[in-house]
C-alpha cells in the first residue's frame, strides 16, 4: 500500500484533508492515528487568525458549506502547543499553510523548513474564504506560479500544492504550479456555494458564501483529478467527497497517487481506517499485488 507522493513515502495512500482533522490530537481518542498514511493539519498562517463570524457551517443535501475563514493558532503557537502531540506520532506530518501576501507565504515556508517533525507541507492557494490574497493566487496561473515559486525558494521539504476547483480550466493552474516547483498537487478544495434560510431570508452563513464539501462534490472532484493527472507529471492527491472505500478507489483508478478524506471524518471519525481496510480488501478481491496496479488503471 506504500506510495510516494513526491519526495515523501507514505505507508498507505489515505490521509485527512486539511481543516477537517484539527491538529490531529482532536481525533486521537477515536482512531489509531499512526495507521493513516499521514496527518494533514488545519491551515496555518504566520500570525494567528480569528476566522469568520458565525454561523460558519450549514448542512446541504449530501454536503456541507463552511466559511471558517481559516481560523488558526499561527505558526509559533502551532510549534509550541500542537507540535508536541504530533512529534510523538510515527506517521508523517504534513502541515497545510497559506499566506495573505507573497512575503507571508515565503516566511511561513521558511519557518516550517526549520521544523524537523514536519515531513512535508501543503500549500493552500485555494481557500475561497479569505478575501485578501487567497482566492487570487489559486485562480490565476501567473499568481499561482509566483506563490509556489516563492515558497519553493524558502522551503527545504516536499511541497504539495492544493488547487481550487473554482476555475475554468484547472489544468492551466496545475501546469503553472508544476513548473514553479511543486512536488505534488492535491485537489480539490471546496466549491464555492451558498444557502439561504427562507424564513429569515438571510444567508445561512455569516460570510454569505462558503465552501461546499462532502459527497455532493465527488463527481466534480473526480473529473478534475482525472484532468490534472493527465496534465502534469508530478503525483496528484485526490480530495473531495470521499466517504467510502469505493470512493477512494475511484480516485486511485483515475490516477490519484493518494487521497484525502475531509468531511467524512465528521460523519465517522474512523472513516480513514475503514477506507484503508477497504482498499486493501479490494486489492485482494481483484487479485492486485500492488496498489500501483490500481493507480491510474482507468480503462478508456
Amino acid at each position: 500500500m506504500a506510495v510516494d507522493i513526491g519526495g515523501l513515502t507514505l505507508k498507505n495512500p489515505v490521509m485527512p484533508a486539511s481543516g477537517t482533522f484539527g491538529y490531529g490530537e482532536e481525533y486521537a481518542p477515536f482512531l489509531d492515528i499512526n495507521r493513516i498514511g499521514a496527518v494533514v493539519t488545519k491551515g496555518l498562517s504566520l500570525k494567528p487568525k480569528a476566522g469568520n463570524p458565525t454561523p460558519r457551517i450549514a448542512e446541504t443535501i449530501s454536503g456541507m458549506l463552511n466559511a471558517i475563514g481559516l481560523q488558526n493558532v499561527g505558526v509559533e503557537d502551532f510549534i509550541k502547543f500542537k507540535l508536541p502531540f504530533l512529534r510523538e506520532l510515527t506517521t508523517p506530518v504534513i502541515v497545510n499553510f497559506f499566506g495573505n501576501t507573497l512575503e507571508e507565504y515565503g516566511e511561513v515556508a521558511a519557518r516550517l523548513s526549520e521544523i524537523p517533525e514536519v515531513a512535508a507541507v501543503e500549500l493552500n492557494i485555494s481557500c475561497p474564504n479569505v478575501k485578501k490574497g487567497g482566492i487570487v493566487f489559486g485562480t490565476d496561473p501567473k499568481a499561482a506560479h509566483e506563490a509556489v515559486s516563492v515558497v519553493r525558494r524558502n522551503l527545504s521539504k516536499p511541497l504539495m500544492v492544493k488547487l481550487t476547483p473554482n476555475v475554468t480550466d484547472i489544468t492551466v493552474i496545475a501546469r503553472a504550479v508544476e513548473e514553479a516547483g511543486a512536488d505534488s498537487i492535491s485537489c480539490i478544495n471546496t466549491i464555492t456555494g451558498m444557502a439561504v434560510d427562507i424564513k429569515t431570508r438571510r444567508p445561512r452563513l455569516a460570510n454569505r458564501t462558503g465552501g461546499l464539501s462532502g459527497p455532493a462534490i465527488r463527481p466534480v472532484a473526480l473529473r478534475m483529478v482525472h484532468q490534472v493527472v493527465q496534465a502534469v507529471k508530478i503525483p496528484v492527491i485526490g480530495v473531495g467527497g470521499i466517504v467510502r472505500p469505493m470512493d477512494a478507489i475511484e480516485f486511485l483508478i483515475v490516477g490519484a497517487r493518494a487521497v484525502q478524506v475531509g468531511t467524512a471524518n465528521f460523519v465517522d471519525p474512523a472513516s480513514m481506517i475503514t477506507i484503508i481496510e477497504g482498499i486493501e480488501q479490494f486489492l485482494i478481491e481483484e487479485g492486485l499485488k500492488d496498489i500501483h496496479q490500481l493507480i491510474g488503471s482507468l480503462e478508456l
Partner: protein, 285 residues
Amino acid sequence: MKNYKTIILSNQEISPGYYRMRLLTPGFSESARPGQFLMMRVQQSLPPLLRRPFGIFRTGFLPADCDGMPPKEYTEILYKVVGRGTNIMADLHRGDKVEVLGPLGRGFDVGDPGEEKILVGGGIGLVPLYMLAESLSARSKVRLLMGGRNRDDILAVTEFERLGVETYVSTDDGSLGEEGLVTQVLERKLDKFPSSSVYACGPMPMLDAVYRICHRRQVPLQVSLEALMACGVGACLGCVVKGAGHAEDNPRYLCTCKQGPVFRAEQLDWSRLGEEPGYCEGCKS
C-alpha cells in the same frame, strides 16, 4: 470518549413533539460528566450527512438479567423534533442501530458544597441539568426553575423532584405552573436567596435575560450553549461563539464543542449573543 456503535433500547414520545431515547452504552457513564453531550449519527445511510449534538440527560444501569449477565449500562437523551434529523430519530425503534460519539465537551463546574444552587431550564434546555442536579443535590440545596411556552414543554420535572430538588414551573400561557417567564421566577428566587449560584440552559433569549439578571446581582452563572456543529471534537471550528473581549479587530472565538458547551458567563461576549443567528433555533421554533 469513543464512537459507540450501539442500539436503541427504547424511544418514546414523552410529550407532544418531545422524545426520550435510551441507548445501550457500556462504559459510557464512568466518564460522562454533567453538562456533556454526544454526537449522534441518526442512521447509517446518508443524508443527513452530519451528526446531531444532544445533551446527555442521564446514564444508568438496567437490572442484571436472570441469566447472570452483568447489568447493562445505558444513556438517555431527550430531544425535540425540529427538522430532518430529529424526524428520522423519532421513527427509530428498539433494536435499531445508531452511532454516538461521546461524552464530549466540558460540563458544569459543580462549585462549592453547601451553596444554594438554582438551575434554570427552558424547554429542552432542561436536559443537561438533570445530571447536574444529581451531583449537586447531595451536597447543596437545589432549586429548578423550569419554563416553557406551554405545558407540553415542561419535561421530567417529577424526576428532579425525586432527587429532592425543589421545582418551580412556569409557562408563557399558564397552562402549567405559574403564568409568566422563568426569568421572573428567577428574580424572585434571587431576591430570597441572593447568594445562590445559577446554572442555565435554554433558548438564547432566555439565557440572555438570565445573564442580565445574574450580572446585575453579581451572582455566578454558568450557561450551556448550543451551536451548529459538524465535528463535535474541536476539529472543524464551525461551532465557535464570541468570547469576552471580542471585537471586530480583536476577534476571540471559543469552541462550543470543546471549550463548552458549558461556559462561565464571564467567558462570553454577551453584547450580541441574544441575536446570534443560527443558535438554538431548535429551541425557538
